[in-house]
Symmetry: C2
Subunit: 240 residues, 2 copies
């Protein structure tokens, strides 16, 4: 069962994990670490964070009222054939991935199969956890939002993936489905109105082929969650 | 890819999720929910909890110094062929699952395959989230620990699973690998000394066959975590 190579596409949660400048960053608090009065070793921690940071799920309810929460997304929508679309980002980090970039990829690798999970590889995972290089600023707070700069998915490309390619879910190796300069988050709105979940801050995708692998993306099952920490992995089947 | 039926073996995280009487329970805090000043709907939450509550991983470092933390466990140890061992618990909730119960199961279903993930079904998931019925007490705090009562795995059975059956991981549908009355947590110690992770508060296992299914257990990737929220799922392949 499950022959092949498993690849972890998840950044570690630690105090270095990257969060939106206005979001509560990950905290890991020691409750106990050491030998107890009964003579055995014991370690335990509490943790706290925004739902939106590190490698995480964006649930449709995040931007679309009445849509699915993190705990409600069917497993069938989180598991499926994967597609990796490599996108070349130049010096202009605030790039929006276009329909043309997707169709150009398809000319080389074939049409995105129906019900795929599409992962955009902008090479940004290599910049993690350097906040300034990864998302344009290491500052925190509301004023830092205007300094964000990183690639995202153009709203037209999101529409194309839903309407023309019937994708199950969309992921990207940057902090957000929308690009750093976004104000209205149209890509989020478009995807979530159709209950298509998003995966953000996905880790290094470079080991994946363009097609022919499977994705399993399992979020923490937070009831009514607008998002959740995500463990996302891929299986590359053995070559014959 | 992945034909068959996916089954979620995970309880939802909410304020009703069950935690150890002394552990920080799950908190879900609204940051924003409603229409923003830019005219679109937006919802976001923070969350906080102990690593040990709800359906969760116990990492080897929880009871064994220097062993694997939650983020370090290889995927290969969290993914594999599953075995469901149903155990009949009588009125005495503080039952310890014995070697004999395992070998009796094997007489009917065959020897546990090498490198299996063994899940014990005590029927306790049906009692969730009623704390008093599920674990013997709904009280919180240190004094409540003496009132805990629920089934666990006898240390001899843990040794047997490691030494005689070479298991990858062990799960149970109760709050702890050790039974409610445990003081020294020997089963935890035995498993974790060998870097065998544990899955606790696993949800309803009754839809699984005794053997012939796969398990994928993906914890939140907490660096140096003593445990982590776990999303655990199973795949039952199609019958021919």
């Amino acid at each position: 069962m499950w022959q092949g190579q498993w690849i972890d596409l998840t950044h570690e949660f630690s105090t270095r994990a990257i969060y939106w400048p206005t979001a509560k960053a990950f905290e890991h608090t020691e409750v106990f670490k050491g030998v107890t009065d009964k003579g055995f070793f014991y370690a335990s921690y509490d943790f706290a964070a925004s739902e939106h940071g590190g490698t995480h799920l964006d649930a449709p309810i995040h931007f679309s009222e009445g849509q699915l929460g993190a705990g409600d997304i069917p497993l069938q929508q989180l598991i499926g054939p994967g597609v990796r679309i490599e996108v070349m980002i130049g010096a202009q980090r605030n790039h929006q991935i276009s329909v043309e970039e997707i169709t150009r990829w398809e000319q080389e690798h074939g049409q995105i199969p129906d019900s795929s999970i599409v992962l955009f590889d902008t090479g940004s995972a290599a910049l993690w956890p350097d906040k300034e290089r990864y998302m344009g600023t290491a500052e925190r707070g509301e004023a830092a939002v205007a300094k964000l700069a990183f690639p995202g998915i153009h709203p037209d490309a999101a529409l194309f993936l839903i309407q023309q390619r019937n994708v199950k879910a969309v992921g990207i190796d940057t902090p957000s489905l929308d690009y750093g300069g976004s104000v209205y988050f149209h890509t989020h709105q478009i995807l979530f109105q159709q209950n298509i979940p998003g995966f953000e801050n996905v880790a290094d995708l470079s080991a994946l082929p363009p097609t022919g692998f499977g994705v399993i993306a399992l979020p923490m099952k937070i009831k009514h969650g607008s998002g959740a920490p995500l463990r996302i992995i891929a299986l590359i089947p053995p070559t014959d």
